[in-house]
Symmetry: D2
Subunit: 309 residues, 4 copies
Amino acid sequence: MDKKEENGKIAGVPRTDLALEVRETFEEDNVEIQGVVLKEDYDKKKDIRVTTVTIKDQKGADAMGKPIGTYITIEAPKLGEEDESFHEPITKEIAKYIKQLAGETSKREILIAGLGNRDVTPDALGPQVVDNLFVTRHLAKEFGNSFLEENNMGNVSAISPGVMAQTGMETSEVLRGIIRETKPKLVIVIDALAARSIHRLNKTVQITDTGISPGSGVGNNRKALNKDSLGVDVIALGVPTVVDAFTIVSDTMEQFMSKQGFGEKEIHQFMNELNEETMGNMFVTPKNIDETIKRISYTVSEALNKCFA
Amino acid sequence: MDKKEENGKIAGVPRTDLALEVRETFEEDNVEIQGVVLKEDYDKKKDIRVTTVTIKDQKGADAMGKPIGTYITIEAPKLGEEDESFHEPITKEIAKYIKQLAGETSKREILIAGLGNRDVTPDALGPQVVDNLFVTRHLAKEFGNSFLEENNMGNVSAISPGVMAQTGMETSEVLRGIIRETKPKLVIVIDALAARSIHRLNKTVQITDTGISPGSGVGNNRKALNKDSLGVDVIALGVPTVVDAFTIVSDTMEQFMSKQGFGEKEIHQFMNELNEETMGNMFVTPKNIDETIKRISYTVSEALNKCFA
Amino acid sequence: MDKKEENGKIAGVPRTDLALEVRETFEEDNVEIQGVVLKEDYDKKKDIRVTTVTIKDQKGADAMGKPIGTYITIEAPKLGEEDESFHEPITKEIAKYIKQLAGETSKREILIAGLGNRDVTPDALGPQVVDNLFVTRHLAKEFGNSFLEENNMGNVSAISPGVMAQTGMETSEVLRGIIRETKPKLVIVIDALAARSIHRLNKTVQITDTGISPGSGVGNNRKALNKDSLGVDVIALGVPTVVDAFTIVSDTMEQFMSKQGFGEKEIHQFMNELNEETMGNMFVTPKNIDETIKRISYTVSEALNKCFA
Amino acid sequence: MDKKEENGKIAGVPRTDLALEVRETFEEDNVEIQGVVLKEDYDKKKDIRVTTVTIKDQKGADAMGKPIGTYITIEAPKLGEEDESFHEPITKEIAKYIKQLAGETSKREILIAGLGNRDVTPDALGPQVVDNLFVTRHLAKEFGNSFLEENNMGNVSAISPGVMAQTGMETSEVLRGIIRETKPKLVIVIDALAARSIHRLNKTVQITDTGISPGSGVGNNRKALNKDSLGVDVIALGVPTVVDAFTIVSDTMEQFMSKQGFGEKEIHQFMNELNEETMGNMFVTPKNIDETIKRISYTVSEALNKCFA
């Protein structure tokens, strides 16, 4: 069974970095999945929904096409909008779940990596988060380790490694090198993600203790960034900011063909004809993505500063 | 007849800023258009194709849905790619046609306006062109008018007025004010355009003496920028860098439905159902748009420097 | 009497955009100045000092070398430092004095202009303030004038006009054009200033109802921006971010020579020998100016948003 | 003897990253230095002067206060100015000497590191050079090693590691980690330097095979970057873009005091009184530094592309 079909849908259709969207493809089919536990909380007043998908064993991992671990999704429809309180409730929510996954390491050496391309607006989330971080590791070197403790600060370093087209290196190579040299206890990677539905864009934060698997994202040539590849615990925080152009076209087509009574085979065949090549390097994003990325990256960096600085 | 149908196609489908693409919708139907003259040149060695669409009278204007005037399209498949000679042949071609449209004013007072949003990568073409321009108007003020003549320089001023979400003002208001105050003889507006086909993205330069009409572009709230609205001759130079998300989906659907034998009425009805609202503020662009915009803006600014500086 | 001596000091020495520093040159000499009233408030808890210099008549204006009007200086030593509360007390103080000078116009049409060069860090204050503003004027155009009233919003437009080397135009030309076209009731110009003492850098905000006079600043070729030149009330808000290289050298020299007992004539002569040309286009600024400008521009934009949005 | 006096001058005075300027302090004193060889070439037509300072042994190193090695200085007064040929002669000269120092490795694996702070204009030289590089290492990974050979390309990777205030890490830590992981044969570090004289700013390129020693630069907290610390050959290319504020003041003072007949002891004493603390974190740079950095970084990146891409 090829990788695409592991997601339980016909080839080529679903392209998402969100565990929640993978889970939904099953819901539509009303399927119960062994090894996968779902928990949902909704705070009506704040309009924030938190869904925790726990993949407990290999069976669940096979069904979901994602590694064993915890995937927390915070849905906040106003995440990307102008807000006088600077999204304080969302900031608190993000901080709470990062701390939960970080556990006891939260006041120890942490490296935060802002993945993505600073020069492509919807991919600039990671670098812009890093720009707003309060880094402290050098203060420990300058004033002694006790300085951070006395001031109740974590030990935070940060890097925006750039993308392969800029550096000629895999992000995993750059991070592995830095980690071996500076020996953080925990790495947090921040990245812009690809969603399947445009309705999720800039409204969702996914936090997971599984790191990042080879996936689409905005630039789809990433290698895995997880405990296996980096040798240290990895938390990944991602926000969907784009939909693949191919996904948006094929989803619309599939819905239309199903409604018109085309059989699965016909649909499958048409999808194979749809030239993925042409659209393979194209993404869809909103026109006001600059303001959105600025606000979300500010909210995420404030959450990280609250946790560790 | 509503505006959308003026383009001669069913509602909602064609969304393009390129006269060439409007013309093509007729070619497909094998229609001859009164009042519209087409001329094509292809330089095989340089792989550059230049198409001139001249709309000669109101009949042609009505049929094309575009104002009377000259639309020159330079198609150069390698425009956005890495190039050791820095696209010198394309630079020359662009300069040649700008001069042709500018006529005798080419060494007189010229204001170049880089439209678009500096912070949204595919919309940053205009501001990035302005960043690379050689402006000279202040030298005339400082060293006397003869200084520019003696050095064989044009009199060039430039502005990146930003977009309405940043300024609260229409681009036309900002430019009209500046023009009344500084009295240039010619205004050249540079803008990122929307194409209908992803195959045209970053491969085409359109130069026209009609200015810019209310259109899509990346941010679709522009008012007209032309001799009527600005009170001075206007040349518009545009490069398609995005396709509307709605266009890419509806085009694929329409092709599929035609092929499947659906009637025009059914297609029309489905297109109306396709929720344009949802996709109305989304655009499609390539993942490496940062490098592409950097190269193209450099090429365009070199062409302008060659013409006027 | 040449312009430099109007400041009451020997030629070439004082180069400051701060009324407070001009006033101090007299204090040193223990001179009382006719037509100039000084008022000082110090809030010990917040460590914020507010000095109001009121130049009441032409005599005072002649003595100070600055136009008749009110100059409010807010000194806050921590203005440029990292702060968990995002400088809320300073934000409130700035907002209070802007409102005081703006008077009844504070909820009417206001244009905010961010002067300076976005690409030279200490001169980027104005453009960075504009980047963080909440502009609303287009909402009134889109949803009707009552929309802003109902939402208790001011009518704010904003522009970063760039500097003459980028545009070929005087800032006054660009602003006058835009003002004639969009007819704001009040213009607020934001600018990076030159101080005389490095101890004041990034610690002081000057707010005045006199606009900006031809002065040094970071780029010293500005024409006046005031009610006379723009035809509308002008408030100027400035923060000193640089000291002229010539000033820092000549001040040190003068102090040394005075202490050594050199006479005024000898000092005067040496200063004339000091090659101002060489250092005339050089400025002095701190190495961490990037973080400082980011924080101060955020504080100033929040103050403006509080006043008008 | 403290470090400052190793330069052969009184404490606190000379602060320069340029071997040429260190050498000049001896020239003034007409001293011949054992273990140091000087060679000079001047091309009158191109107005380019190349000086090679070779420090041959420890005696020379002690006298110069710089490590054993070759220091090539290319002086080109027009380096930072507008130029229609894009500084092609200087580009060629830089490429020639990089190749000379790189030797046979020039077509093998090379990592280029752009040091400095992207957000402080005169310190952005390194990052801006990297932005314009043609990186190729990932092409070898994607298309096989022979791909680069067949296309006569070098194997180039690149990184802009940021500065300690942004990352919490020493540049040497970040680079050492990446080097261990990606195993380049040669590292080239690009950096903005501090000169002693404002007359050298943006007119000089220094290329050396000794790497970078702990020094001033714009941000003065760098650790050594050389074969010892990085475990691989290191070439450093630097351009002076700033003068320390303390240097400019103390140099002027010293000249004045010497001329006035003050003794060395008195001068020494006054220099110690001059509060270095106050000015210690301040630099001097020209007002048009943005254009200058843009042009020079373009010239340097073209030279590197010519060598290796």
